[in-house]
Amino acid sequence: MTTVAEAHGLTPAQLDALAQEFDALRARVRSELGEVDVAYIRRLMRIQRWSEVVGRASLFLGFLPPFWLTGVGALSLSKILDNMEIGHNILHGQYDWTNDPALSSTEFEWDSSCPAKGWQHYHNYLHHTFTNITGKDRDLGYSVIRISDTTAWSPINLGNPLYAVGLAAIFDHGIMLHDVDVAQVREGTKPWEEAKPALRAGLKKSGKLAFRDYIMWPAFTGPLFLLTLAANALANLIRNIWAFIIIFCGHFPSGVLEFTEAECENESKGHWYFRQVLGSGNISGGRLFHIMSGNLSYQIEHHLYPDIPARRYQEIAPEVKEICERYGIPYNTGRLSRQFGSVIFKILRFALPSRKKSKANQAPPTQPDAEPIELLAA
């Protein structure tokens, strides 16, 4: 059985050398962090908060379409910024080095249904440690969508497209339920007792946000109650769909690979780096796009260095790409239409049984269903 590393012609010694190079890059960036990074995140937080203020204020005149639309737009912007460039990054500990409690990963709470602590457990720890390991990374398909043929097909997968649309619409709740491990409880692999505390915390948080968005602020606008409620619901929906698109482009575009548990046991630092690169995909775009995607458009750099402030990913990307080239490691990147297009294709394709026989009786595949490895696809 060939491991992914062997298939790419990388020996343990080469993986060690790779680790040294990536470690050195990290140390250099880490030493450069300073006021400019803090000023950046604070400016973004000010923009996010002003957006929210403007959004909520506009809805007091929501009977006039331009104000209603401004309300929706500003609130969507505020939620997207909070969840992605601000929340996701702060909760990763990217700003813990500042000792500012407002930027601390242990203190910050974000405008999303999933409580920060719960999300941190399954994201920072489980997802980032076991990235793209079949059977261990629960983010592969979020337990509801069959996203590769390493999962055996069953008739329920015919609903793939439906589940995807549903998940996208309620994505922030989906993340909350994902943390609760609802799928695992249903299967019977996790006892209900263990999941209860997470569910309680999740319902409490999402309840507070729902009260704020669907009762309190609509009530403040008096007769405009329904208009405000609709605007808040639409803003949440826009945030959910955007987040879904960006996040699904992180690990599911064609060319991104999965790994077996066996080949990742006792893995070296070099192999960890290698797996992070091959398990992730970037999206190309302009500066505004990168900010709006929380720099998750640099998913490869993020997975190499989850706790380095995301604004640094853009400047180190050329160097990361160059290191990958020298070691013969494919660097998966492409336009949003291309990356998300391939994700949609996968969702549709794996709704149906795979053409090849199930691999249950053979050695596990080294990559989902022989996609050609694409180098720097445009």
Partner: protein, 398 residues
């Protein structure tokens, strides 16, 4: 002065009120009054609006227009920064409504941001605790390798916002006027005892007080003019300055000795003494009081610098887990492992320094990152305990 979070408890407390924190202390020795009724009602209203502003809280919105406002944090604006000597700056700060005043001799932890990172250091208030003008005064002296003190002396200016903690410390002026007060200080240790003298005068006390201060020379002397004015402006105050590097220029010569103390104040054996300064000075004074069987009447403010250059390799030290009140001797492994060996179960994740699940606060001491070799110095910084090895004595909030 660079201070410590946990000064030793005061000895001989018949003349002082024992207080474990300044909130529970009877605030008799001059404290700025807590907020008026309007302010208290406003604070309650804020909590209601916190629901509308979930999950951030109202603070983060009001901050947009008034940076010094906070419903919980104590923030202060610098309204004066005067450099009287080359190596020091006297800061006048106006704290926000969360500041609850202080007792003479106490200190606060000043938080200042340097190149994006917030650092905190302890400084004693030097103004009278009885002044009701809503300001406090701190005096910062640049330490030889002091990152924060150096930065403040170089760059502090009006308009900057810094953070404070509630006043702390047991080294405080007694509530009841002692029959005889002896205040001894050296160098930057003048700060807490100066507050004591100013407060004593503001309270109108009249019983004798001797203020004995040691500096290297006249040019290094902090608050020289203020000391003279304090001596002239009140009854019973005697100020003596000693310049150890410049014999003949001060009121007395040479380093502290019992004989010198006799010439300064022959009644010292009947006095309540408060001493703050370099360790050798405090040790000498304490010995003098020990020998006269007056040990419990000598109160000292200890301060240590937690910064030092660590050599490579394991350095022995004591590890203290503050929250659990467990201590052990360091075995050179990361704090997570040492905590688990001590029976604790800290939250952790990847155990390799990436996911930040194990992040805790380092209260004091120095740790080394096993992955990068980087040294991190307390107090009050976030560390990932799975990759942090103690270097010397450390205290962690576990």
């Amino acid at each position: 002065m660079e201070g410590t979070n946990d000064p030793p408890a005061m000895k001989g407390t018949e003349l002082t009120s024992v207080n474990s924190d300044c909130y529970s202390a009877p605030m008799t020795t001059g404290v700025i009054a807590p907020g008026s009724l309007t302010k208290r009602l406003l604070r309650r209203a804020v909590r209601v609006f916190d629901v509308a502003a979930t999950p951030y809280g109202v603070d983060r919105y009001v901050e947009l227009v008034r940076p010094s406002w906070s419903s919980t944090e104590i923030r202060a604006k610098v309204i004066g920064a005067v450099r009287t000597t080359e190596r020091s700056v006297t800061l006048t700060l106006r704290p926000n409504g969360n500041w609850r005043g202080f007792r003479a001799g106490q200190y606060t932890q000043l938080g200042v941001e340097i190149d994006g990172v917030r650092h905190t250091r302890c400084y004693s208030m030097t103004n009278s605790a009885n002044a009701h003008d809503g300001t406090i005064e701190l005096c910062v002296t640049a330490q030889p390798q002091g990152r924060v003190s150096g930065h403040l002396v170089r760059t502090a200016k009006r308009g900057q916002i810094m953070t404070l903690t509630p006043a702390q410390g047991f080294f405080t002026l007694p509530d009841i006027e002692p029959a005889h007060l002896l205040l001894i200080s050296g160098g930057s240790g003048i700060t807490p005892v100066l507050s004591m003298l100013r407060t004593r005068n503001a309270l109108g006390w009249t019983k004798p007080v001797t203020f004995l201060h040691y500096a290297l020379s006249e040019s290094d002397l902090l608050f020289g003019d203020e000391l003279d004015a304090l001596a002239q402006g009140a009854l019973g105050v005697r100020v003596l300055k000693v310049f150890t590097d410049a014999p003949g220029t001060g009121d007395l010569d040479g380093f502290f000795s019992t004989e010198q103390l006799d010439s300064a104040d022959i009644q010292w054996r009947n006095a309540e003494a408060f001493v703050c300064g370099p360790a050798p000075l405090m040790d000498s004074v304490r010995s003098a009081f020990d020998r006269s069987s007056r040990a419990e009447h000598c109160h000292t403010e200890a301060f240590t610098l937690s910064h030092f250059t660590a050599e490579a390799g394991t350095i022995d030290g004591a590890v203290r887990f503050a929250g659990s009140e467990i201590g052990c001797s360091s075995d050179g492994t990361p704090l997570l492992l040492q905590a688990e060996a001590a029976g604790l179960r800290p939250l952790n994740g990847c155990r390799m320094g990436i996911c930040h699940t194990c992040t805790r606060q380092l209260h004091s001491g120095v740790v080394r990152d096993v992955v990068t070799g980087e040294l991190t110095n307390g107090p009050d910084v976030n560390i990932r305990i799975c990759v942090s090895v103690p270097v010397g004595d450390v205290e962690v909030d576990l």
